[in-house]
């Protein structure tokens, strides 16, 4: 098996990030909010950042809502989003990750995530970090009290440094961590298991042909 068998398309690696974080405290912010359905027919090459929270950040008359966190000048340069419970739940649309990524985000922190978003994030260089609800609440309070405050995220040590200097560790799947740190996607890793897959197919195929 040659190394390039699956083709190469490296993902952007994630190691450490020290960046402005924007708080979005509401629970259940779904992927329909993050990117409305009418933008889903756009190919990956299109800058999806322009669709990020497209409707949520506008007023009913179509003007930008100056109150929406992403529209506030202090949070223009945010690269981390700190969300509420069940952040990015709902639709499996990977473009929710692309919208955040293309707008500069590389990390999302929340007490819980929609499972599919979490997977999609890790496969696209957007690190999802789960912290206990009370820690996230405290961080959001700090970010709201001091708009533009920064958060440090360190993947090798699996820690988040809050604006107040407190340090919180987080869990991450070792496999996903390895992929993110090295900018690998799992196509390449799966190639190493080609023989196992072929052997499985011989076993399985007999009972499960159509």
């Amino acid at each position: 098996m040659c190394a390039g068998w699956w083709g190469a398309e490296p993902m952007e690696a994630f190691t450490r990030l020290d960046a402005v974080a924007v708080p979005m405290a509401r629970p259940n912010i779904d992927t329909d909010q993050i990117i409305p359905a009418r933008f889903l027919s756009r190919p990956r090459e299109v800058d999806h950042g322009q669709f990020l929270f497209h409707d949520a950040r506008r007023l009913p008359d179509g003007e930008q809502n100056p109150e929406f966190p992403l529209n506030r000048p202090e949070w223009q340069s945010a690269r981390i989003v700190v969300g509420g419970r069940n952040f990015a739940c709902g639709s499996s649309r990977e473009s929710a990750v692309w919208a955040l990524f293309d707008a500069g985000f590389r990390c999302a922190i929340a007490p819980s995530f929609g499972d599919i978003f979490r997977n999609n994030g890790m496969k696209n260089g957007l690190l999802p970090v789960v912290l206990p609800a009370e820690v996230v609440e405290a961080i959001i309070a700090q970010l709201e009290a001091e708009p533009g405050a920064r958060i440090g995220v360190d993947l090798p040590t699996q820690t988040v440094t809050a604006p107040d200097g407190s340090v919180h560790s987080f869990e991450i799947d070792p496999f996903a961590k390895h992929c993110l740190l090295n900018g690998l996607d799992d196509f390449g890793l799966t190639a190493a298991y080609e023989e196992d897959i072929a052997a499985f197919e011989r076993r399985y195929g007999r009972e499960n042909t159509l």
Partner: protein, 473 residues
Amino acid sequence: MSEPIGPRTMFEKIWSRHRVTEREDGQTLLYVGRHLLHDGGATAFDVLRRRGLKPRAPDRIFATPDHYVSTASRKVEEIEDPRHREMVEKLARNTAEHGIRQFGLGDPNQGIVHVVGPETGLSQPGILLVCGDSHTSTHGALGALAFGIGSTEVAHVLATQTLWQRQPKTMRITVDGTLGPQVTGKDVILAIIARISAAGATEHVIEFAGSAIRGLSMEGRLTLCNMSIEAGGRAGMVAPDETTYAYLAGRAYAPKGAEWDQAVARWRQLPSDEGAVFDTEVTLDGNAIQPMVTWGNSPEDALPIDGVVPDPAAAPDAERREQMERMQAYMGLTPGMPLTDIGIDRVFIGSCTNSRIEDLRAAAAVARGRKVAEGVLAWVVPGSEPVKRQAEAEGLHEVFRTAGFDWREPGCSMCLGTNGDIARPGQRVASTSNRNFMGRQGPGARTHLLSPAMAAAAAVTGRFTDVRRLVGG
């Protein structure tokens, strides 16, 4: 890789049967038995193309366009928006190029991917099935392990027929008792989500169990499992039983003859063993479940039809209070308002949640001999061509048309509106779909989720109505 000893859950049985290998870090490479595609998945093929890859097992892949098809016409060239047309055409091109069976527009089996899978017999007990769509959980109703994946994962499955996963936790939701008249799978799942929250099953695979679940038809079970994802669940499943086998027998891709007997014998081994341990257990009393309607922007905001819009002042914390206020502002509702006082503008009977023949029969039973209320625009969008044909054979389309409903062509339609079927800002929609998120059915549209019979009751009365008042209650 240690084999589990002792009693196993149905989930564990299917999981271990599809395990190609497991790494020391716990990541498992799973073999995908069936992969379904729809017209929203073009990017996965772009990834393959860029890498010079091909689908590994085209005979395990089936496709149908649903998200971008018109519900006014069956002709690709009559899809007005060129972007939408392009999505439908791309699926046809990509599947033709790689020898993948597509139930395209005009094919007698075309429909919403989660209606087509079970209906053609492609979704079967004991298989691992994936699709680039979160409502893939639907297929678990047949005792499959079925879950939605993102488009990078779709590309990975296309290329390798496998997927890396970490074993999720298991949750058993037991609903015992007997469901009352007009209480459906939709009401059961809304009651469950209201109870455990929209994140209640995050990182879990749900198995639905109990006498109320066993008593559901296959259509009811499909509705139930469909919305597992709205409780945060990775997948939802119901153990196969006689209802399952009766549903599957004779379907196009179901095993035949001696193979059928062998398959059923195998499927009978699937249900969770006595004493199998689940990470989380939830129980609900099926006798107490009422027809439900949602009032907010999460499926967890569901109440029995005799309820009132809740008061944010009574919220358990400030965060929930603020959220309730925002949702009620968006939805144009005031606390204390009886749900039955809320007037509606549109009705949508359709989507992978509730567009099957039993759903249409239930709605037609309410519509029969009645008229859609003045000022209400009501649509029925069958889930697939076979559902449409069956409904027409039974004369249901005439019942709907006579009552003033619009009888349309199969597709996702107003569930998501990617094909342009959307409501106007501020319009209130009684919808049998699965998500009442802000803007889901168009910017500013207000979605309330309910069962097909309840949606029909809303259509003919112009407001939310306890369907039991209209038909045998």
